[in-house]
Each structure stands twice: as C-alpha cells, then as structure tokens.
C-alpha cells in the first residue's frame, strides 16, 4: 500500500463518495422530475397553472422522490446485472474455462475476498471489467479477445487488477456512476426531445396562446429555465465523472495487482499487448467506458493524456510498473 493510506481508508472513501452520489442523484432527479411534470402540465394544459396549488406540487415532488429512490435502489442492488447485460457478458462455468476460473480464484484468495463469478464478453477487442456493490456481490468480465491472447501469468495480472477494484469498493462507485449518470443522460435526452416537440406545437398555436393570457406564460418561463439548467448541466455531469473516476485509481489497481501476485511481469505483459490493440469494443459506450481495464473507445485511448480521459495512457501505466522492476 502507498504510504499512509491503507486500503481500509480507500474503502471508506469509496463508500462515502457512493453515498454522496446516491444522495446527489436523488435530490437532482426529484427536482428534475418535479420540474419536468410541471412543465408537461404547463404545455399540455396552459390553464392548469393558473390554478397553481402547492399541495399539487408537493404530491408531484413526493412521487418524483419515490421514483428516484427506486432508481437508486435498483442501481445499487441490480446495477451489476444491468451493466453485465448491456456489455453483452454471459456467465461461464468452471468447466468452460478451468484456467480462467482458477486464476480468478487464486487472486481472490490473495486478496482475501470470496471468488467472484466470471463472465465472458464475446468480442475480439481486448478488455475486462469488474462490477458489483461489494466483494460479496461482485463479478468480473473479460472479452474473448483478451482471454485468448494472454498467457496464464498475464491473465493473473489482469484479474488481480480487477480484484483490486473489487476489494477497494471502486466497483460500487463505478457501477453507481454508470447507472445513475446514464439515467440522468436518458432523462435529459427525453426532455430535450420534448422541448423540440413543444417548440413546434407552440409556434403552431401561438395565436391561440396570445388570447389565453398569463397562465401559459408561466409554463413557457418554466420550460425556458429548465432548458437553461440542462444546457449547463451536461458539462457538469462530465466533470463529476472526471472527479470521481480519478486516474489515480487505475495506477493504484495496477500496483495492487503486483502486490497481490508478487509478479510485476504478468500485468506488464498484458498492458504491452493491449498497447498494440486497435480493435474497438462495440458494447462499450461513454457511460460505461470508465469501468474497463483500458479505455475501450480507441479514439479516446489515443488521446489518453487529455484531462477529459477516463483512463491514464497505457504507456504511462507501463512506465510506472517498470519502476517496480528495479
């Protein structure tokens, strides 16, 4: 472990950040959903807001809070299954690949956690990820391409890196980020479509609206405000992911992999092979890219050094591991 920070401190920090993320998500979606439904109401029935009633808004807010609470619960307790599903990962048994299973169980013993179930992604790109809410409810997934191209030692290094993410509770934060931020992105998308649709509707019924008076103006203002909030929001969300992901996490998992296997050559060999890989992993997207062993989106991986990258450049990871050989 590095200096004064033990892995218990890392776990505590990850749990704290996860709780903050859930709280922030619930607060944000409750406000957004309430605003959204008020907006719909204003557009659908411009007169409704003329009789605006705080009790009505309170009910809307409570429903919105319940929905966001449910989404957060699902993200925490079913997020791993969801992410494995959207990544096209399917579970394999020990008989399918004894060596892969053995390697995962070995490094789980070294880390003192229960061995996680193993999933295979049927894609020739080389990558891997781990997900779950804690070491007792975790899973590791590896692409067919990576599985086939690595030696036993290299496979052990990659799996030790993923097991390190599991033990440190990185998986919980990464999973919540992927699912919750993904949900917000979908919400924002739906809302933007609605705005465009409403824009058409309004321009066609402008003459009528002029007659109907003040009620509709409130709705228009509300929608305008929400649109502005959304426009500001998108870059902030990207920033949140940046702050939480922190490229230190990857360096640390690499170092922990060496600590667990006592063999820097395994993960080094794997990273060297990955550095030459140009295959695009089709099932990954910007919402899930941060979970993977190396950045699955190759065009971003090339510009890995920019501040917007979710992963450190592979060359830098190799360089830092090579320092351990001396």
């Amino acid at each position: 472990m590095s200096g004064l920070v033990t892995f218990r401190d890392l776990i505590a920090a990850n749990r704290r950040k996860s709780a903050l993320l859930v709280a922030g998500f619930c607060l944000f979606t409750t406000l957004a959903l309430t605003g959204l439904s008020l907006g719909i109401l204003a557009l659908a029935a411009p007169d409704a807001l003329a009789y605006w009633d705080w009790r009505q808004t309170l009910v809307l807010a409570l429903v919105a809070a319940a929905i966001s609470g449910l989404i957060a619960w699902l993200a925490l307790y079913r997020g791993d299954k969801f992410l494995l599903f959207v990544s096209g990962a399917r579970p394999i048994r020990k008989e399918d690949d004894p060596q892969l299973y053995n390697v995962v169980e070995e490094v789980a013993i070294a880390a003192g956690i229960p061995p996680p179930p193993v999933y295979l992604i049927d894609d020739m790109a080389m990558n891997a990820f781990a997900t779950g809410r804690d070491p007792q409810h975790a899973a590791v997934a590896i692409t067919r391409g990576l599985r086939q191209k690595l030696t036993r030692d290299e496979l052990q290094g990659v799996m030790a890196h993923e097991i390190a993410h599991i033990r440190n509770y990185d998986i919980r934060l990464m999973m919540l980020l992927a699912v919750l931020i993904g949900t917000i992105a979908v919400l924002a998308d739906v809302f933007l479509h609605m705005l465009r649709f409403a824009g058409h509707a309004r321009s066609s019924s402008r003459r009528e609206q002029r007659k109907s008076g003040s009620g509709s103006n409130v709705g228009v203002v509300l929608v305008m405000i929400l649109a502005i909030i959304l426009a500001i929001l998108a870059p902030i969300i990207a920033q949140i992911i940046q702050l939480a992901v922190s490229r230190q996490r990857e360096y640390l998992a690499d170092a922990t992999a060496v600590e667990l296997t006592r063999n820097p050559h395994g993960i080094l060999g794997a990273l060297r092979k990955l550095a030459g890989d140009t295959e695009e992993l089709e099932v990954a997207n910007r919402g899930t890219a941060h979970m993977y062993f190396v950045n699955p989106i190759r065009k971003y991986a090339a510009r890995g050094n920019s501040i917007f990258a979710s992963h450190p450049p592979i060359e830098e990871r190799i360089r830092r591991l090579e320092q351990l050989l001396i």
């Binding site: 004894p98 390697v103 490094v107 880390a111 030696t151």
Partner: protein, 193 residues
C-alpha cells in the same frame, strides 16, 4: 437553579463513562474482527493444502500410465502426500508440506521427458489444477501473513494494546517459509501453456 447545578457533574460523569465504555467496545470489536480474519486466513491455507492432497492420487495414476519407469519418483510423491495428510501440529505440517512440494516439483521435472503424457488432455487438466493449487497455497499463506501483521500491529499499538492485554488476545505467528524453500520459490520455473 441550584438543583440543576448539583445534577450537572453527574450528567458529565456518566456521559464520560458511557463514552469510554463505547470506545473500549469499539476497540475490542476491532480486535475480534482482525483475529477472526486471521483465523479464516489460516483455515483457507488448510483448505488449499487439502485440495492438493486430493489432487495427488489422480495425478499419480495418470502419470503411471505413461511413465511407469518413474516408480521411485511416484513413490516419493505418494509417501510425502501420506505424511502430509497425517501430519499433526504446525511445525510437523510445515515440514511435511515442504517435502511434498519438493517431491511434486521433482515429478514435474521428470514428466518433461514424456511428450505423450504432456499431450494427454487429462494430464494437462491435472497440471493446470496443480499449478493453480500451488498458487493458491502460496497466496493463502501470503494473505494469512498480511492479516496477522495487521492484527499483531493492533496488539502492540496504543491504546488497543491496553484492551488486548486486558482480554488476553494472543499474538499470532507468521507462516514462515524455510530458507531453502525461499530460494526455490525465487527461482521456481513458471508453468506456461
């Protein structure tokens, strides 16, 4: 007013005692947690050693089919395995397991001369299991030592050392490799496929 003032020291005193008791409880529970971790890690070593014992009869049978002349080496493995199964006490167990490790390494060197055996799918499966078991044993030891180090530090550190002394938490021994084996591990040939 006066009545309130006479109660104040009591409240502060009881509050302080409650805080101290809670603090002691949390330290005690922390020690119990670490001790349990160490015990679990120890039993994990046992599990993996047992796994190796179970693997050997199968391995010996398979090798016998192809390399019957290597009777001596096979005998050694079986004897070392039986000694390890019957070993009692940590010192005896460590010695028997080290002898078994050496005998198995010898066997793996010998089988290099039998290409038919090495091509046998059943043998390749067993070889993978054996490689994995050796890794598991050394990782289980490594994890045990990590956990014991944490626990022993807690036993000596202030203020947990006071609680540990009061409740007589025993220090645990590291699982040591003997000097000869350390040398072997450093230059152990990696099994590659």
């Amino acid at each position: 007013m006066l009545v309130a003032m006479t109660w104040l020291p009591w409240v502060i005193g009881i509050g302080a005692i409650v805080l101290v008791v809670l603090y002691v409880i949390s330290i005690y529970n922390g020690l119990v947690h670490r001790q349990t971790e160490a015990e679990n890690a120890w039993s994990q070593i046992d599990v993996q050693l047992k796994r190796r014992h179970d693997l050997i009869p199968n391995l010996v049978e398979t090798v016998k089919g192809y390399a019957a002349h290597e009777k001596e080496t096979l005998e050694r493995v079986i004897q070392a395995r039986n000694a390890a199964v019957n070993a009692r006490g940590v010192a005896q167990l460590a010695e028997a397991e080290n002898a078994l490790t050496a005998a198995l390494r010898q066997l793996m060197v010998v089988v290099e001369a039998y290409p038919d055996l090495k091509a046998n799918e059943n043998f390749r499966g067993l070889q993978e299991e054996l490689t994995s078991t050796e890794n598991r044993i050394s990782f289980a030891r490594q994890h045990y030592n990590d956990v014991v180090a944490q626990y022993n530090i807690a036993l000596r550190r202030f203020p947990s050392n006071i609680i540990a002394g009061m409740f007589r938490f025993p220090p645990y021994d590291f699982f040591q490799l003997d000097a000869q084996e350390v040398a072997q591990v450093r230059q152990a040939p990696k099994v590659q496929f």
